[in-house]
Amino acid sequence: MSGHDSKYFSTTKKGEIPELKEELNSQYKDKRKDAVKKVIAAMTVGKDVSSLFTDVLNCMQTENLELKKLVYLYLINYAKSQPDLAILAVNTFVKDTQDPNPLIRALAVRTMGCIRVDKITEYLCDPLQRCLKDDDPYVRKTAAICVAKLYDINAELVEDRGFLDALKDLISDNNPMVVANAVAALAEIQDNSSTPIFEITSHTLSKLLTALNECTEWGQVFILDALSKYKAADAREAENIVERVTPRLQHANCAVVLSAVKMILQQMELITSPDVVRNLCKKMAPPLVTLLSAEPEIQYVALRNINLIVQRRPTILAHEIKVFFCKYNDPIYVKMEKLEIMIKLASDRNIDQVLLEFKEYATEVDVDFVRKAVRAIGRCAIKLERAAERCISVLLELIKIKVNYVVQEAIIVIKDIFRRYPNTYESIIATLCESLDTLDEPEAKASMIWIIGEYAERIDNADELLESFLESFPEEPAQVQLQLLTATVVLNNATVETDNPDLRDRAYIYWRLLSTDPEAAKDVVLAEKPVISDDSNQFDSSLLDELLANIATLSSVYHKPPETFVTRVRTLQKTEEEEFPEGSEGGYSETSSAHAADNGASPPPTSSTPPYATTKQPAPAAPVPDLLDLMGLDGDGGGDNAVVSVDQPVKTAGPPLPVLLPAASGQGLEISAQMVRRDGQIFYSLMFENNTQTPLDGFMIQFNKNTFGLAAGGPLQVPQVQPGTSERTLLPMVLFQNIAPGPPNSLLQVAVKNNQQPVWYFNDRISLLVLFTEDGRMERTAFLETWKSLPDSNEVSRDIPGIVINNVDATIEQLAPSNMFFIAKRKNANQDVLYLSAKIPRGIPFLIELTAVIGVPGLKCAIKTPNPEMAPLFFEALETVLKS
C-alpha cells in the first residue's frame, strides 16, 4: 500500500510560491488538496512557506479529513510566526470541536493545544471543557493530555478555569486509556508545580492499580511511573501493592517491566519480612535477565539500571553473572556496560571464570573495550584481595602478548594494585621492566616510573632505567615529568631544566631538601600514599535512592539526578514576564566533563565527549591563542580546560546578577555575573546584555589564575545576542586548574571576548560560600578532637559589628543552605554560643564558634582551621550570609 507522495517534492523552481498560491485558491477540490500537499512537502524539506498562510487557511473548512489534518499540521508549524492571522483559524477550530465525528473533535482540540499563540489559547478553554466531558473516550483521552499542554502554555488559566479538578475526575473514568492519559497529564503538571496537585491517596491507588490491568502498554507505563512515587503507609500496604504489580513483570513490553521493577523496589524499602524480600528478589531476577534479550538500545537502558539495582540489592543477580558475559556481536556500548556489571558481581566464587572472560575481551579489536577489560582485571584485584594474585598473573599473560595498548593499560592497573597491596607483588617488576621501551603514553610511563621509584631499592639498575627516561625529559608531558622527578629524587638525582613552574618549583624544593636534610626529603617523597580502594559500588546511599526512584528514566541512564540535566524551560511568555524566585525553574545546561572520572558513572555525555574516552578528555574546540596571550597564562597542563568556545545556545533565566562590566565600559556590552553553587557544583551565572547596534556572537571566557584555581569546566554557551536583548548562561566551573601562588585572596580576574569587540576584563570576587561542600558536617566528637588537635596559632577570631542575632534557630537555618552545619550550642551567662562546621574542597575544615547576646548587635566569631590564612575570606563569607 505504498504511496506516491514523492511527486509533491518536485515543483518548478521558478515562481514556486505564486504557483502554489494559485493552486491553493483553485475552484477544484483535488487541486487544492494537491497544493496543500505540495506546501507540506516544501515545509518538510525546510522551505519557508509561511507566506501562504491565509491561502492554506482557506482550505481548512473541508469535509476531507486528510486535507484537514494537513492544514492543521501547517498551522502547528506556522501559527507562531503569524499570530495575527492565526486567529482566523479559531472559528473553524471551535466548530470542529463540536463536529459529530469524534475523530475531528479530538483532532481539533489536540491541534489547538499545540499552537502556542495566546489568542488561540484563549479560545481553547471552552471547547476543552466540553471535550473533557465528551461521550467518546477517544476525545476525552485527547482532552486529558491537552490540559497538560495548556498548563505548559498558561498554568494560571488551567488553575482558574478548574481544569485540574476536571482532570482529577478523569482518574475515575470508566475508560482505561482516559485514566492513563489523565495520570500522565497530572504527573507532568505536578512536576512543574510547587503546590500539591496530584496526590495519590490509597483510594486513587486502588483505582489506578485496577486500570493497570486494562489499559494499553504505554498507559501502564504512565500509571506505574506515577504510582512509584506513592509511599505506602506500612509494610502491609507495601506488600499488597507489590502483589498487584508483580504480574506486570510478565509483560512483553520492557518498559512496563522496568517501571514495575521500579515500583517493587520502592515498596520493598518498607517491607520488613526478610522472606518476602528474598522472594521478591527471586521474582525480579528472571525478568531483569530477560531484558538482555531485548533490542540493543533497550539492553543499554536495562544495563545502566541493573548497575544501580545491584548496588542496592546485590543478591538479586548474584548468581547470574554469566548472562552478562559479552556476546561477540553485542554493540560496543552494551559490552561496556556488561563489563561494569561483571565487576560489580565478581566474587571469590566466580572470579576464575570472570578473569577468563576478561582475558578473552582483552584480545578483541575495539581498543576502548580492550582497555576497559584490562582495567576491569585491575579493579577485581583491588576489590577481591584473595584473587589479586590471579589477576596479576592474567595481566602478566596479557603483557606477554605485546599488544602495545594492552601492555600500557596493564602497567597502569598494576601500579594501582601495588598501591593497594604494598610490598606484596614486587617480584613481577623485572617482567614489567622488559616492556619499558614500548611505553609511549604518559599515564603508562608515569605509572612505570612510579613503580621504579617506589621499589628502587629492589631494582638493581633503577638508576639506569630512569636515566633512559631522563634523556627525553624535556619532551615529556608534565604528568611524566612530575613522576620522573619524584622518582629521581628517590634516587638522589634531581637536577632539571624546565619551563613548567610547577615542575621547577617542586624540583627546587626537593633539591633544597636534599641538600639540607636528606632524611626529611625521604619523608616527603616517600611518604605514605593513600590506599587505593574498591570503587565498584560508587554511589552514596542518598544518591542511589534518588536514582533508583528514577529507574527507566534518563536519570537512571545518566546516573545523575534529574535536575542536573533537565532543561525544560517553561513557556517563553513566563520567562519574560516573571523573575524566577530562586532560579530553580530556569534549567541549565550541564556541559562539564572535566570531572568525569572513569569509574563507570558516566555523566551525561556531551556531543564533544565520547563517554568512554577513559580518562582523557578531548581537546576543547577551537582554542583562542590571542586571549591566552593577553592574559599571560601558561597554556598547558590544567589550563587546557580554561580555553573554551561557543558552541550552541542555551537559554536560562534566573535572579538579577551584579553588573561587573557596565555598558559604558564595554562599548555597549553589559556583563553581569555571579558564582553560584547548585547540587554540589559551582557555576558561573552570567548575563550578557547587548546595547550596541549589532548582534554579538562568538563569546569566549577565560579566568586568570586565582587562589582556588577556578576555571571553566566546559564551553561558554551563549547564542548570538541581538541588539537590545540579553542572554543568560550557566557555566560549569572546575577547581584547582590554575592556582595562583601567594596568600589566599578572593580576587577573580575574568576576560571575555566576542567576535565583534575587543577583549573585556573585569574583576569578580570568589566567595567561600560557593566552595563550602555538602559533606562539611562534622560529628560532635570529631569536632572536639579536631579543635583540640589544632594548635592555638590556628585560631583566628573577629568581631563582626552590626549583626544582631534574634533567634538562634533562625540563624542556624540561615547558615545551613550555605553548607555551614550546626553542631552544638550552649549558654554562657547571657551569651549564646554556637558551634558549626564547614568544609571547602580538598577537605579543609573550618571549625566555627559564634558568640552573641540575643537581640544585641555584635557577633564574635572564632574559627579554627588548618589554613588560618583563609580566615579573612571566611569572615567575609559569614558576614554576607548573615547580612542577607
Partner: protein, 391 residues
Amino acid sequence: MAGAASALFLLDIKGRVLVWRDYRGDVSALQAERFFTKFLEKEGDSDSQDPVVYDNGVTYMFIQHNNVYLMTASRQNCNAASLLLFLHRVVDVFKHYFEELEEESLRDNFVVVYELLDEMMDFGYPQYTEAKILSEFIKTDAYRMEVSQRPPMAVTNAVSWRSEGIHYKKNEVFLDVVESVNILVNSNGQIVRSEVVGALKMRTYLSGMPECKLGLNDRVLLEAQGRSTKGKAIDLDDIKFHQCVRLARFENDRTISFVPPDGAFDLMTYRLSTQVKPLIWVEAQIERHSRSRMEIMVKARSQFKERSTATNVEIELPEYMLRAEFSLPSITAEDIVPERKAPIRVKFEIPYFTVSGIQVRYLKIIEKSGYQALPWVRYITMAGEYELRVM
C-alpha cells in the same frame, strides 16, 4: 519523574531531517539536525555509540533501521526505556504500512507518516501503536475513503488490539513453537553459557471476539492442579506475554487466557537457562603451515537423537586476513596475529523437536457464535547465538 519527548525525527543516513513532528516546541529541527549530523560525522559508525546522548540541554535517543534513523529529543527526565521501545514500534507500524521502512518509502508516504506521528504520540507521550487497528482509520491513498466516521472502538477499549466484526469462513489458528539455542563455548571446550529462548508464534484467523485458553505442560500449573508431572512437565525461567494475555489471571492460577489479535503475533516468549548439551558440537584446529598457507580442520558432530534431523546447517568460520606482499620472484605473507579470533558460528534448524520439551496440551477457542476452530501446532528448534570460541 514525568517527562515526554519534545519532538520525533526521521533522519537520513547522514543525519539530515526527512520528516519530523514537533510535540512541544522546545527543540527545533535545526538544532537536532545540527547536533546529529555532527555527531555522526565525528563518530563514523553509530554502532559504537550510546543510543542516549546528551547535548546542550537536550537528550537525544535514537535507533537505526535500514538507511533511516529514528530519534526523539527531550528536555525532561523522560522514560528512556519507553521512548526507545516506542521508536522500535514506530518502525513496526511503518513496516506494516509501507512494507519496508527506508528513506524512499518515507518520502513516498509523507502525508501518512505525519498522520501516524500525530496519532501514535501526543505531546510526546506514546499513545497507540497497533498497526492493524491504526490502518482501519489512517489509510494510504489507494485505500482512502472520504471520512471515517469514528475511531475504531479498539483504540480506547480494554481490548485495544482487536477490532470487532472480523469474519472468516474457515476459522483456524496456527501455533509455531520456536526455540532458539544460545550457547557460548570457550576455546577450551567449556560451556560458558547456554540458554534456550522460546517463542509461541501465533497466526489467528478467527471470527468475532474469540476467548482462547492455552494449556502447556508447565510444571507449576500441573502441580497446582494436582496432576502427575513425571517426566513431562517443564520449568520455565521467565515468561513474557503479549499484552492480550491476562497477567493477573496467570499470576493467580497459571491460566493463559486471552482474546487474540487478528493475524500474526508472538503470544509468549520464555527463557530457560538450564545447561543443555550443545546440539551440534564443532571443534576447529587451526594450523599455520607457512607464511602463506594455513589449514583449518573442522570437526562437527550432532548430539541429538537419531529420529530428529537438522536442516540448513551452516558452520561459519572466522575470517582470517592475510596480508600479502608481492615482491617478485617470491610471494610472502606478513606474519600477522589475527586481530581478533571471531568465534565459529553455527546455524541449523531441527524440525519437530524442542530442547525444553515444551508441549501444547490444548488450545481452547470459544466464541459466542459457537464455531469450531482448528488449531495447528508445529515445533522447531534452531540455533540462536551459537558461538564457539577458537584458540
